[in-house]
Symmetry: D3
């Protein structure tokens, strides 16, 4: 599910960043031929994400290190569960340990948080999506972690989705003008989304054929009314500090999508350790 060619560059970069000119502690103290075995163990419950990345971390350091993954990406774990076992040259494993854990804890943290949001709305039709509020340089991995956690991805970047906001509307003259301009230039494979703040804007957006309507920072009542007005003629997305709201209440307004920046901009690493 991941473009490993793109991910490889991220991993190499992280390894060069952390290893510098070599792990001087390990080189000084550990014999080159010493073999060890370690286990990646969850120290709290959550959703695992990044096992393949971890595997690749060690492959890039030392192709002779072997890793057996017991719990694949998406697995729901409890404290104490063994995620994977790794075996090989002690020097190689200790050198890669921190980078491996940094990826695994970050991505599992995102997947776990996503799942918590998804579970809240599981009895509704609402989908939980991410945003472009991701850590610079790690979007491909962070959006993957959102999917692993059961969430869905919003547009990846500025060129593969259209989102017309207030500045675009002002500059174009009206929602209709903006939507028309977009439709006449973008690939026909993309939908057009319009961010609205009130009901008049909704009416205009529907009138010019917007495919998705984003309700920006609306109250629960207004969201419900908006859904009613739209009546299935466009997808409805709720947006704006959603992490601070009761997601089930939001979902029950009937919106199709709840997009949550905090899935990726406010991250709590999942506690996972490598035990020898």
């Amino acid at each position: 599910m991941l473009n490993m060619l793109a991910v490889d560059e991220i991993i190499k970069n992280a390894l060069i960043e952390d290893i510098g000119t070599g792990d001087i502690t390990t080189i000084a103290t550990i014999p080159a031929d010493k073999i060890i075995t370690g286990k990646f163990i969850a120290k709290e419950s959550g959703v695992i994400c990044g096992a393949l990345v971890v595997k690749r971390v060690f492959e890039l350091i030392d192709a002779s290190v072997s890793m057996q993954v017991f719990l694949n990406d998406g697995a729901i774990v409890e404290k104490g569960d063994v995620i994977a076992e790794i075996s090989g040259r002690a020097q190689s494993i200790l050198t890669g340990e921190r980078v491996a854990l940094n990826f695994l804890q970050l991505l599992s943290g995102i997947a776990t948080k996503t799942r918590q949001c998804v579970l809240q709305v599981k009895d509704t039709k609402a989908m939980i999506t991410d945003t472009r509020k991701t850590t610079p340089g790690l979007r491909v991995l962070e959006k993957y972690a959102v999917r692993v956690g059961g969430g869905r991805n919003h547009r990846y970047n500025l060129s593969d989705g259209v989102l017309i906001k207030d500045n675009h509307i002002k500059a174009a003259g009206s929602i209709t003008a903006a939507v028309t301009a977009a439709r006449s230039s973008i690939p026909h494979t993309l939908k057009i989304e319009v961010e609205v703040e009130d009901f008049d804007m909704i009416t205009e957006a529907l009138g010019c054929g917007a495919d998705i309507i984003m309700l920006d920072n609306m109250s629960i009542e207004d969201m419900a009314k908006a859904v009613e007005i739209i009546g299935g003629r466009a997808l409805v997305e709720a947006s704006g500090n959603m992490c601070e709201k009761d997601l089930l209440t939001v979902a029950k307004t009937g919106v199709d999508i709840i997009s949550i920046g905090a899935l990726t901009h406010t991250i709590r690493a999942m506690d996972i350790s490598l035990r020898f």
Copy 2:
């Protein structure tokens, strides 16, 4: 205070990630010659970090965009404070907005969190430091944000500091053997740190001349006793889920350094917006 040559690569990477083949919404709706002015405004209190990075984001997109920074890195802001003003081609500013905010919010979040920790121990001699638990690829920026927040940096990577842990000790045979091996191979410009779990280990580490002793996950009582035993013969570092402890209590044990992984592995983006 930042090596901008290294940072430039990170920024370019983030821009290419977010812009893709172009901001199709903006290109379709905003005239190329439209000029706008926007303000970066704090939406909550905190420590600003990343103003220079934001400036560079826009320079790389469009050298004609001008930015005036009112509150430099390290400034303590309240909700509503204007951090910087930006002016130039609307297309360029809207295209760079998200990347600029992603950097600014992330780094200010880290600086703010760091300052909260630093303030807790401000009446003690303890320094707050980061760890290597940073976001892959962003260490140079994240460690900078820790400094901006008043914290100090621990070793940057595996090659510019020596930290002897249990695996190293086991492989070398003893703390003494490990320290001796390290001292005979590392640059003379680096200190040697040993992670200990009990008082016997402290005694041995002191005996072989360790420069820094890391107390790993000790109780407050044990930390205090350890400080007493060490008696100034080595720097003392408290470590292990420090973010979950009362930092002032830890500091009052007399440790010199409190290292906190959560400064960079558990991040809450500071809320900052770009208003037009």
Copy 3:
């Protein structure tokens, strides 16, 4: 309209490729302080594309070279028209000449060919689009040239559009299964396109809500019938060796999109020279 950060890497790469360790002929024969002025002149009619790229080529070689562009991208020129004038150190201009012309001729060739196709269907609603059959490494520029020529872009790559073909259908079990699977995993901002070969497939694709139906290699008669069946419930795209067909006849069947691989896989450089 172009992400110049991404294009810069392509240009630098091309310059390093062509200059090698230096233009040994020019260094040997042209004094370093000699200044010349040259004109880019169309040697045949066509659509100009790449003036900004040419400007950047010379900026990267020597920031003191100045270039005045008279005919911007999209300008329709006749033989003899002066596109731009360039002035500066002769060594720099001669060193960059070939790379500049290689870009300008290639992109203008694509824009010109695109315009020829667009003009054929100008009295219909049909849009001419490109495909992913582009020159490896140059897609961002080639798709830009298609837009400059009046064409539209199909999906940029495998991750920003869904195109369900026979292999996907076979593996998923049916069109309905494939569309359903896609809808449950892709970003909600993307439409779903299905490639069909007969009317039954069209019926099934419509039934499961495909947004775009691609008619693969159908006869003119079948295309017309397909358009009738679809009746506006989905966009209709004609595909399959379209460059060998009469585009107006295809367009008159009522299809919305005609996608033409040959716009970018079969290229005739436009004849443009740099005269001193």
Copy 4:
């Protein structure tokens, strides 16, 4: 025959360009464990070029994909001939299909066109060569395709060959001055070529020891006369829109080399498909 280290970067770049964050259609519809077999089949006659590049495309995506090449680079094929068979995970093969075909069709197109030119002059001593009018970034591959098609390479770039043109002559003062300047500075391993427009220039070039004389845009009669004047004292190269001339007639003037920019600047992809 190819420097695969250099080519690998081109291939990775093309894959990252086309795959983006992943092949979302394939991931959604094709089971990860499904295996398929496909055949690369020529849909028209021509010269195959790029089989090793195609092999490498799939290796980079998924090392477990196997490919058997039946017709190596340089093979002359007819419509229907099977070039290679590929077998492995369906997801991997479908993800790499387009990039593989883009390389194979482009390079085979160049090799085929080159061979058509070479065949025209096969009963003469004339060699067909390429120029520096190549697609930016792909020169190493395109010049390889020319060799595979039976052509020869002209200088690779500005630093590994000397070609003195009118601007160099004007700046140096005379052909003699330019050739002398070049000879006193370039590596002794390189020949010196001078572009001439009339017989006086030829006489001067011979007088100062030019190794190669390029006849620029001369008539057939003048070329024949030039060859006679030169009388074997230098290699003679015919140049200037050669693709629009009868190559056999040009060759019969006795020139040693016919250089043709259109081999690489005007490209018709060869029609090759991957059938499952």
Copy 5:
């Protein structure tokens, strides 16, 4: 002992530099299936360094080439000793020969020179270290060669060591001010070194707790006196054109470290050949 991820980029770069578009001599004259065996032979005595780099050079060119290393890095060889044997496709081996030898001869040259220095002081406590006077881009390898030759590394770069020189002292106001400023901002894992020119400076440096004192260009007598004054309160480093001095005499002054720029800035490649 080497971070091969970082070294790989250096090797690839060197190969691309030397191979260009291919080894045209070898391609023209050597059949693709010809196998040869060669031996790397020392043509003078010295310390071998770079065997693993050589192995990697050939792996990157052709994974089927096999290499058996008889004398690992650090081995002391005499003229005629066989360092390694290589076997595989003649084309691959001849193509990589020069780059392999360039690395091996350079690194062995540095290791050999280092050992010569180390041997001179072997009966003293003095360590021989390198400096930052390394060849641009090769520091990671050159500092490794110093270690292989029995030397020690000084700080790797400007961020992993503190060296306070005259300009820093002048700007800070005094040695004490500079040391205090450094101590309050650098990682606690690093020592602080001060460069001094006379005894007053030593006294001040000791007074403010400098960890290392560098004696810059002092006479033997002054060095001895400085060591006496310091009396073990700081490490003492002798510096300044040390290669032109009698190292044993320097060492006998009691200094701890002798740093020698010439280890890496004045290099004599060791004579090693590849014989077939």
Copy 6:
């Protein structure tokens, strides 16, 4: 005379290598607004090379640093001569000092050594050339330094020159077979060089039209005889540990070229300092 696009990458790489995450000593001790002026001064006689590289080093660190070059590349200096003056922010200048000097000393060292060789043969027709025995990654700069010192460049790499050695001859079957094979495949812009060990090989090489004959490790007497035999029918290159021979004696044998690996494989950095 230098392709600065290629050189820029080398410089950036060297700066990132040396600066790491920042010059921590300078940041701690030097106020950000302090301005200094420094002079690059020759501490011994020699040929300056690298002034433009030094300029670029500081531009990349801080565009506001200004540098005035008094003695351009190729200038012959005596001890005490001022090469250039630099003025600007002290932090920037101190941060770049070492990298700037490393380039300047290395390149001036090569230029100086080259000039010493060139002067020895100045009254003969012999040219001094370099080889491919250059420092990995720095060939473009080192070969430039050779030219600055008055030397000439041999082929740059394996693809822009043909040098047929014993292995090629053995594999091809004979010198004639190897030369013929090369001539039928290489660009017509390149000469063909053959390495010979005895007079029979010379006769054969001449017979098949080799352009250059390299005399490998021949005695002075044999070189003189070889020159006589060749009689101007090919260029004659003397090769093989030339740095250990009397160059004037070699030159007087009448050879055209003396190629010396030691110009670039055995380097003594020229002593140059930056004084404030």
